[in-house]
């Protein structure tokens, strides 16, 4: 392929990435025993002190690359709430000398428990070589080490992949840093809100708008298997479910229905879209096969049935319905049979989203004038509320099922001024509630699956 250096400012997603991943065995001693571990089921009680000095850059690669990569990794680890990156100003050993062997005493004195060392080099063939090693400082042992080869414009993506490798080695679970978020960017007055489809890396980098705000767009969701988004658009003032191809920018309406289609989500295999269709005012749940474009009705009830979402194995569907008098969560088989109510708490329940692990369902709850984000087991037991506000809505799971993202609206004054709507994330444990930075107001987040390279 042709290496276009002008693309280095742009998101790595633009480039065909060719990465060779090479496992580095420990420089000293045998394979490390896993003495250093983070138990992520307990919540963010005591983040792990970790040192991520700038990656050594012996020359060739652009001067900032080493610092940029360690910066992205540091930011990822810090925002996860599981790590406490140490201030680089306190570091004693310089990156260059660490290429032989870390002086563990220099890191123990800073109370670092883990250390990440790395090196970036431009290869004669124009590719960037990035290596990193993760060290258990107390044991003085390497825990993992990998080398990646890629185009220089991909350095940021490599930093996310390294972050995931560190997360996985220390927690035992897949990471979620090499992912993106699609969401609705909002601007303008409250009664004439301009909404645009937007996409960014999970850390906010590589942000761009996918639509121009000329028509209302809502509720985007990522395909689990392709570079596609399904969402609701009011093109030509007809609210319909659309499919948007991120690679080509092409969009197409799904089906040709006389009434509104909305609340779309992909099936776990990416081959179907489940959604609501309104007929003579009544909304039921339907599924469309994307290969045949055949549509099948799954619920048939004179109540509002909407916000459907598949279980990760595709065998069941959770949705919300007011068939019992108020909005509650129901689970049914994928063919529409065996409908069972699962939510029985005080208030109304909405926007159920099945965890990628299959055990939990996240939801929005409305009770006594307040909104909550919570989770319950798939049978409705074990409800836990993780966030509360004037308005929080629309949870989406990180691909490893450990973090929820949602949006939170802080109301403005009676003239509609001063309000603020932003994306937030919270650990499944309820800790680490924090804002996701976006250039302007934001709602309806949807987390991408882990990028294919990273699997």
């Amino acid at each position: 392929m042709i290496l276009d250096r002008s693309l280095t400012r742009n998101p790595v997603w633009r480039l065909r990435l060719l990465a060779l991943i090479v496992l580095l065995v420990p420089m000293a001693g045998g394979p490390a025993r896993a003495a250093l571990e983070i138990d992520i089921t307990q919540g963010n009680v005591d983040p792990l002190p970790i040192a991520v000095p700038e990656f050594f850059n012996p020359g060739g690669a652009s001067a900032q690359t080493g610092r940029d990569i360690s910066g992205v990794i540091t930011n990822n680890l810090e925002r996860s709430g599981l790590f406490r990156p140490l201030n680089p100003a306190s570091f004693i050993q310089k990156p260059e000398s660490m290429q032989v062997q870390p002086r563990f005493a220099d890191w123990r004195i800073l109370n670092a428990q883990a250390l990440v060392t790395g090196k970036v080099e431009l290869q004669p063939d124009g590719r960037l070589r990035v290596e990193f090693r993760l060290w258990d400082v107390l044991a003085g042992e390497q825990m993992t080490g990998l080398v990646y080869f890629t185009t220089p414009g991909n350095w940021r993506r490599i930093a996310h992949i390294i972050s995931d490798a560190i997360y996985k080695r220390l927690t035992g679970e897949e990471g979620y840093f090499d992912t993106r978020v699609v969401y609705i960017a909002e601007s303008g007055p409250a009664d004439r809100r301009v909404k645009r489809l937007a996409i960014m890396d999970q850390d906010g980098a590589g942000h761009r708008f996918l639509t121009d705000g000329g028509h209302l767009v809502l509720t985007p969701r990522f395909s689990p298997t392709r570079q596609e988004i399904t969402y609701l658009s009011y093109i030509a003032e007809k609210p319909r479910v659309y499919l948007y191809n991120i690679d080509t920018g092409k969009q197409e309406v799904l089906g040709d229905f006389p009434g509104m289609t909305f609340a779309p989500r992909f099936s776990p295999d990416g081959n179907r879209v489940i959604m609501s269709l309104a007929r003579n005012g009544n909304s039921d749940v339907y599924v469309m096969d994307l290969r045949t474009r055949q549509i099948r009705q799954l619920t048939k009830h004179p109540s509002i049935d909407t916000s459907p979402c598949y279980s990760p194995d595709g065998s069941r569907i959770v949705f919300n319905s007011d068939r019992g008098g108020s909005q509650q969560l129901y689970v049914m088989n994928a063919d529409g049979s065996g409908v069972q109510r699962i939510s029985f708490g005080d208030g109304r329940y909405a926007t159920p989203v099945w965890s990628p692990r299959g055990d939990l369902i996240a939801f929005t709850k409305i009770s006594k004038g307040r909104f909550f984000i919570g989770v319950m087991r798939a049978d409705g037991s074990g409800e836990r509320l993780l966030a509360e506000s004037f308005l929080v809505e629309g949870p989406t799971w990180s691909p490893n099922g450990r973090v929820l993202m949602f949006f939170r609206q802080e109301p403005g004054d009676d003239q509609g001024n001063g309000g603020r709507t932003r994306l937030w994330s919270v650990d499944l444990t309820g800790y680490n509630d924090r804002e996701i930075m976006t250039p302007i107001d934001a709602s309806d987040p949807a987390w991408s699956p882990l990028s294919p390279l990273n699997r």
Binding site: V22, D212, G214, E237, A278, D414, P452
Partner: protein, 184 residues
Amino acid sequence: MRFEEFGLKAISLAAAVLLVAACETAPEESADTSGQGGAQQQTTSTQSTTSTSPTVSSTPTPAGPTPGSYEDFVENVGDRVFYDFDKFDLKPQSRATIERWAAWLKQYPDVTVTVEGHADERGTREYNLALGERRATSARNYLIALGINPDRIATISYGKERPGCVAHNEACWSQNRRGVAVVN
């Protein structure tokens, strides 16, 4: 120091690109440009006719909008009905309003309308889209029952996306739980 390589693994990733949104730009003029309803929109020309100045010699032209126009509908008929929280059934006052819609539509048989369904902000987005659709449809169905040709009445739901009133209190929310007839 050993420095070995294990497990060579090569993976390529297809590019995922796009900067330009291929959007068909849809004009939004229809949406929520509806008036504030009923008597609130007094025109200044109407007020000027109350003047008793003797210097006004010419006969005042009839004030107000052209009969059969959208402005006529908003001012003289009233373009909206209101619903209770999480409800879509028509209250007696709403029925009376829709009966006036029907009479007006019979008077101007070439006019078509779109009934917008709206919800307040105290529900979730997708549920409110469904609720708005129900509200718009309940108004449309009553118009049909009153003898209006179904082909003249479209519906669209905006859920909580287009509040008419932007404060965060019940006074506003009750204004936003509405059906609005927009003359096309």
